[in-house]
Amino acid sequence: MIVETQVACFDSLPLDCGVALSPVEIAYETYGQLNSSRSNAILILHAFSGDAHAAGISHEGGKPGWWDNAIGPGKAFDTSQYFVICTNVLGGCKGTTGPASIDPSTGRPYGMKFPVISISDMVRLQKKLVNHLGIERLLAVAGGSMGGMQVLEWAVAYPEAVACAIPIATTSRHSAQQIAFNEVGRQAIMADPDWCDGDYYNKKPPARGLSVARMVGHITYMSDDSMREKFGRRFRTQEPLPDFSSVFEVESYLRYRGSQFVDRFDANSYLYITKAMDLFDVTNGHASLAAALERTQSRFLVISFTSDWLYPTYQSLEIVSALRGRNRDVAFCELQSNYGHDAFLVDVAEQSELIRGFLASTYREKVARAS
């Protein structure tokens, strides 16, 4: 399946910080066919460094999408039955308006003049696109990690527009530890002299800082077990020398992933998006998490993974417990996996079973019955 990213443009988007972005563009891809009653649409929400290319093979780069193992005919999100949409988030650097976009008031990239954005701003823009596509009610919104935060925001902000919500390996708000890891990444970028207060677009980008930030990120996405299995204490070179020229496999891997990331990601997007994640709290404006989630009208499927120490199960359970306290329809399962936080992207067999069954029953009960 060859897919192409498309772009929709809107005149203006009001932001939580008080200003409006004008104009604003959003990159998206779609897979499968929208049915005549427009009741089979699923919105997929990507994690921190993802993009609109979730499935299929891209027309430009020839690369598979980031969740191609979960989206497609017969897969968890079965494109022979459902119409699947994925967008690039606001503040991103893959086609949606972000810090690298041109500020119409200056004719130069926004850089650090880009307004502070929030998870709810990202969701507000997605809602515009969904409306633009002529869809009033989504069968499902689904995503892992930061995508899961957007799922929660969708269910609270637009309760009538979400039949079911699937937040995976996520939280209703970041803990001090999660904020701390993000701050290390941000400081690595800002400490790079090439960052130039964010004004580097016609110059050398802060590659060293961004690469170190990504290395820290990758450590938090894996588990002790998965790293032991993948790298152990093996050396990259055959005969290790007892000096600094010797390189462990794990070091080499992190450097490679770090340098690769520099080619595909904008450092200022890193700063803005991680800040949006840290500031996110679905409880904002409500008395409690339960009070916030009381607004929802969706069925929920909450999934966590045993070895995910970045978004541990207790954070999923906080969500589940609040939903149960308000007698909302929620299914919860902690899946066994050694892959750490990455599990929702790579260890998808059991997760797919859950999602497939949950979507089918929601479609049968909530959508088909209503139409």
Binding site: D329, C333, E353, G357, S361
Partner: protein, 209 residues
Amino acid sequence: MSAVAHELRHPSVRDVFGRSDYAIISQIVEPNTRVLDVGCGEGELLHWLALHKGVDARGVEIVGAKVQRAIARGVSVYQGDIDQGLADYPDDAFDYVILSQTLQEVRKPLKVMKEMMRVGRRAIVAFPNFGHWSVRLTHLWSGRAPRTKLFPHDWYDSPNIHFLTVHDFESLAAKMKWPVERAIYLSGDSEVKLFPNLMAEVGVFLIRK
């Protein structure tokens, strides 16, 4: 033919589950109600109730693999422990709370029963009857912890940690002032009418608060 007798012969329920207590429970539950099945296993009963009686079905189950199969069936199941698993639910959240073949396995049966009666308006409890004649005979003749068709485990690897009879349950319900709306006694696939405490393998009680 009585409703119970009909339900016991009804192929769509018993044959699917191979469990006559499920057949009775599925007959007791009124259509379009809210149902919580505590210790719901793979969600077979809830799935059937959702499809055929339009109930709003929820479950609690501790074993991860069973939870996965239940959710894959489309049933909203929460992976958690029964002894604490009901605490989050508000009062009267359900019309029926079902506890099938599980009461004898929980650490604190009375606490679980009280929680069921808090979150539900009615409870349906099915349990193996320790007063059945085969249990009594085996115990009397062998002088050992009874092993029967109903209680097949050795004492050291049995999941059953509390043993109760039909009479024990009736006394508890009376003591707690939970009126028994229906009591159905089963032996295999047949209903027992006489001497249930001696003749029933399984008791199914519908109680309310």
